[in-house]
């Protein structure tokens, strides 16, 4: 029961929190005067730091590669040399991200801006992120070659979540560290809307809507120009002119 909640229900709840929370923050931002400032503040708080960026980007790239190209990863890992190379890069990226996290946390400690609620949410997010990073690094040490066994066990699990039919058998049988890694990652996603980081997502949404709205506004302007030139009312009801 606990396993099915953590691995079949919790991921959807977490993503639901992220989507709905970000949506709500977006709607609130429409009233705000300076959403761009909030985004740049959020970037300064969470996105700055070469170590952090490099480590996090590498880690994300490796996780997504395992999710999208599992067969290629397994073929790559068929050679011991390449396996060691990939695992070393992933482990180094993890260490970089942990170092980056320390610097980020230090900056957060010194930063007293924002309400206590935002600070609490930021701290919770950072704590969950640390749990994810540390559990990831430790599982790489204690359960060797995660890039191989991960794509055989966790990739099908995550894909089953995307399909809407979660298959939790392999995930619930994993050792504690691996389960902690998965659950903390979803928990971090769930907390994002309450943090300052959500301002970046809101800015992203704003940009997307602007881009999507451009063809519509272009079509609207064209239609208005056409209507003013060829007034259909005059053609339909000429006697009224």
């Amino acid at each position: 029961m606990k396993g099915s909640f953590l691995f079949a229900i919790w991921p959807y709840l977490a993503v639901g929190c992220l989507v709905l929370g970000t949506g709500a923050r977006y709607l609130l931002s429409l009233r705000s005067a300076a959403p761009a400032n909030e985004a740049s503040e959020a970037w300064a708080a969470f996105g700055r730091g070469r170590l952090w960026q490099a480590g996090l980007l590498l880690l994300l790239a490796e996780h997504f590669a395992g999710l999208i190209f599992p067969s290629s990863i397994l073929r790559w890992n068929a050679s011991a040399t390449r396996l060691y190379l990939l695992e070393s890069i992933a482990f180094a990226a993890g260490l970089l991200a942990i170092a980056g996290w320390c610097m980020l946390a230090w900056r957060q400690l010194k930063d007293e801006s924002g309400s206590w609620l935002t600070q609490l949410a930021d701290s919770a997010f950072l704590a969950l992120l640390l749990v994810g990073l540390l559990s990831g690094a430790l599982l790489a040490v204690f359960y060797r070659w995660g890039s191989s066994w991960g794509v055989m066990t966790l990739t099908p699990y995550v894909r089953s979540l995307f399909n809407g039919q979660p298959t939790v058998t392999s995930a619930v049988q994993m050792p504690f560290l691996i389960r902690l890694h998965v659950v903390s990652a979803f928990a971090a996603l769930a907390v994002i809307p309450a943090t300052r980081l959500s301002a970046i997502l809101v800015a992203g949404l704003n940009y997307c809507f602007n881009v999507m709205g451009r063809p519509l506004s272009f079509a609207k302007r064209g239609a208005e120009a056409w209507l003013s030139k060829h007034n259909p009312a005059a053609w339909l009801w000429p006697e009224e002119d």
């Binding site: 068929a78 040399t81 359960y143 060797r144 070659w145 191989s148 055989m152």
Partner: protein
């Protein structure tokens, strides 16, 4: 002066040329290194698929049809049931006759065929069903299955691992560690498991398999190796996981691993689990206290 300029120019040219050569050499070295890394990635070698000359070939569909439709009335080498024993039927009858009889026995009996009439009389006028839905090829496959041993055929993986040759054990080792890939894309056992003394190449997610042969013995291990460890395997399904030959080789390797001198500890633990009355001192080859056994 002119000579100095010429000498300087030629030295510059030489430097530029040398730099160009060095750059080209480095580029070539880089290309060769990348190719060396990618070559085994692009062309993985294949394991012996277990369908070689030594293996017995038969259609699994024919075996299934035989079990479903024939065994209710016929035996293979165990005498008469409702109809005749089918062992040796290919030698007793011609294939054309068998095809006709299996498709429409009533028609053959009705035509006055002496063999069919005699069988009809011998088996208490019990007529065999007309298997009109079976194609000629399907019947030929069933007859071939009967010819090569029928239900007596034992899959290659059911052989006892004690009978494995050194070559088969080595093949199992290579498959276990992924030095040779499994035919249907199953992952090497060493992705998650290790054996005693296997080093860092082996994974540590799953248990050490050093004592697994002793723990489960031959038959249970055979049954286990017929199913994937995970429900999802690249290019592998329940029907195509390991070939019988691969499963046997892995089993043979695990038996060998259980006899490794360094695995004595694990071996003793398993023996003690099975026979709690055996003392540790007896297992380690030391005389128990008092010197009497």
């Amino acid at each position: 002066m002119k000579q100095v300029i010429l000498a300087t120019a030629s030295a510059d040219c030489a430097n530029v040329a040398r730099a160009g050569v060095e750059k080209r050499s480095l580029t070539r070295l880089g290309i060769v290194t990348v190719l060396l890394i990618l070559l085994p990635f692009a062309q993985p070698s294949r394991a012996d698929d277990g369908d070689g000359d030594a293996a017995v070939k038969f259609s699994p569909e024919a075996a299934a049809t035989f079990n479903k439709r024939c065994t209710a009335c016929h035996t293979y080498g165990k005498g008469i049931k409702v109809g005749p024993d089918l062992k040796g039927v290919n030698e007793r009858r011609r294939q054309e006759w068998l095809l006709k009889f299996i498709h429409a026995s009533s028609k053959v009996i009705g035509s006055g065929d002496p063999t069919a009439t005699a069988l009809f009389a011998q088996f208490k006028q019990q007529r065999m069903p007309d298997w009109i839905d079976l194609s000629d090829q399907q019947i030929k496959d069933i007859l071939e299955y009967i010819k090569i041993g029928g239900p007596d055929i034992r899959p290659a993986d059911e052989r006892n691992a004690q009978l494995a040759t050194a070559e088969e054990i080595d093949s199992g080792r290579k498959l276990f560690y992924g030095e040779v890939p499994f035919k249907y894309g199953a992952q090497a056992c060493a992705t998650c498991h290790s054996t005693q003394g296997s080093g860092i190449r082996s994974g540590s997610l799953g248990p050490d398999l050093t004592g697994v042969y002793l723990r489960y013995q031959d038959m249970a291990l055979t049954a286990f190796l017929r199913h994937p460890c995970f429900s999802w395997q690249t290019n592998a399904s329940g029907d195509h996981y390991l070939t019988a030959k691969e499963a046997f080789a892995v089993k043979a390797f695990l038996r060998k691993a259980s006899q490794h001198p360094e695995s004595a500890g694990a071996r003793n633990t398993i023996i003690q689990e099975r026979n709690p009355e055996i003392k540790k001192t007896e297992l380690s080859g030391q005389a128990p206290a008092g010197g009497q056994r």
